[in-house]
Symmetry: C2
Subunit: 339 residues, 2 copies
């Protein structure tokens, strides 16, 4: 099959890879309908994470091709969505809703789903079948559920977004924008997005943002305080992962408020004393997307949400290198690859 | 009046200080029945925080002597308990239960309650009167409510201790020990205290600890994992405030679990990536003791809890210097000063 391999920073190629096959009786093999490039794929692309000849990709939707002998919940021919971490969905950690830290879990990035086919470990606990074969128009949204929507949703839940709450979103990438959507769906009263990009501001407003703050750092925090009677937001979604964005998120939150952070941390060190006096709730990390998948698929299937709008560039898998380039240069928010 | 002043590290004296008086119409002046020395008072005593000629103390119980013209909820002659931070108990932050970050709040440590009298700002929102004049036997427990019990209680609540939960307590000082008591009262199933001191282990068991772990750091974490099926505790109370204790607390918590941290942070930097993958809930800081005072006073008044047992040395105010010495040398867990 054809699949994306990153040979080194900036060096993305689509080449022949071995066809995946069932390894464990709990595996499935799917034929991908679409996959995409994640903001986190840019870390190695930019040389900020090490990479050598690595198969890439962890987001996926497609049709089940084959299942192992122990698989009960999905069957060949079904259209499925799965999380970027496999999970048995039965262990104590999964049962508590933390499937991204399943005791048997595996990062799908190690498998590489920017490809024609992919082996999905723990298929019964990882995959969720859609009610039927989706029309093409729904595929981008279902694909978004696999990571960026699920991650934004988790961030909003971790930030305790809900009725009566003022929510601030730090980061206007796909995850931040879908954090806006999640906060709206969860009933937040006011949603302030921190963004300097007109096109992203527009999409944020379409997804439910009520206010835009263009300032960053201390000025950004001051702007949020101005909008919240000097107190700070009740709920802050952090979707960047840098020292500045984390501190901005914590400082923009009122005492007793909640920060939901999902930006993959890079060189972040949180000073204990600031955290101590901030009195925020801090929760986040690797989003347990699987927890939310049934609900997200239902909302998409019923036309309640259209998260696929974050894909502003669609390319065939063969042109993956151009997709990476477009995201790296911020010409695209998020790139869908058709398979 | 007589009061404690710390002139520099290790230099604690009891000397004449100005009698406090009503400054704002929302003030009260109380005559202290007892006060005490806090673990946090040892930071400046040991030269780890700067100190010059500072009045000391932030814990207090006593009888209202005089109230300002705007005070409605307490009156002269009443016995009162207050938090170590003053609070109006009406602002939006107070209403959310975060009175330690009241928009008008003030740290009582700036006033110095290791003294015969003290001015209490925002008396209506800060002080809680007991149902009547307490017998002497209850005074240590009521005094404990003013900080260490309230702080341990907040830590247990922040750590989401409750029925079915395995709780671990990092730190066997007064706050950690009372965190054990709080976890027991909140219905925790199992309470593991991390302690190397036999006398503190014994008190922890009396307060409700079911297990003791003597190891620290990685070995301590491994021991907690061994006791919890490899997963870690559901709830961890951190009551020390060092880098080691914070990382021990985070690492001993299962994904999706809760860390309630109340040890005053000193030189703590939390690595973002470890926090990201830990997937714990992190909450804590300056305990909003006022939130819990009515309930704590009720439990003490009705003889349900006896937190005063953490005071293992009682001295007259005049001997405060010896009290500091005893705590510094770990000869005493916590020192009560009679006034």
């Amino acid at each position: 099959m054809r699949g994306v391999v990153m040979h080194g920073p900036g060096d993305v190629r689509v080449e022949d890879r071995d066809d995946p096959r069932i390894v464990h009786p709990t595996d499935a093999v799917i034929r991908l309908s679409a996959t995409c490039i994640c903001g986190s794929d840019l870390w190695p692309y930019r040389g900020e994470d090490e990479v050598h000849d690595a198969p890439m990709g962890h987001e996926y939707v497609g049709v089940v091709e084959e299942v192992g002998s122990d698989v009960r919940n999905v069957k060949p021919g079904q259209f499925v969505v799965g999380s970027f971490v496999s999970s048995d969905n039965t262990c104590e950690i999964c049962a508590a809703g933390y499937q991204s830290r399943c005791v048997q879990g595996e990062l799908m990035g190690n498998i590489g789903t920017q490809a024609q086919y992919a082996r999905i470990p723990l298929a019964d606990g990882t995959l969720v079948a859609t009610p039927g074969m989706p029309p093409d128009a729904l595929i981008p949204s279902l694909l978004a559920a696999s990571d960026v929507l699920g991650t934004g949703w988790f961030a909003a839940v971790a930030a305790d977004a809900g009725p009566g709450k003022v929510v601030t979103v730090v980061g206007d990438g796909a995850v931040g924008l879908l954090g806006v959507m999640a906060a709206r769906q969860l009933g937040a009263e006011r949603i302030i997005v921190m963004s300097r990009h007109r096109d992203r501001q527009a999409l944020a407003r379409e997804f439910g943002a009520t206010d835009v703050v263009e300032e960053r750092g201390d000025e950004g925090v001051a702007a949020i305080k101005d909008l919240t009677g000097g107190l700070g937001a009740h709920s802050v979604i952090e979707a960047v992962g840098t020292q500045q964005s984390m501190m901005q998120a914590i400082s923009a939150t009122r005492p007793g408020g909640h920060v939901g952070f999902v930006g993959l941390s890079h060189d972040v060190n949180l000073p204990g004393d600031e955290l101590f006096f901030s009195m925020v709730h801090l929760h986040g990390g690797l989003a347990p997307v699987r927890r939310f998948l049934p609900e997200l698929i239902r909302l998409i299937w019923n036309g309640k949400i259209d998260p696929g709008k974050v894909f502003d560039l669609s390319l065939p898998l063969a042109d993956a290198a151009e997709g990476y380039k477009a995201m790296d240069e911020r010409r695209a928010i998020k790139v869908l690859l058709t398979v």
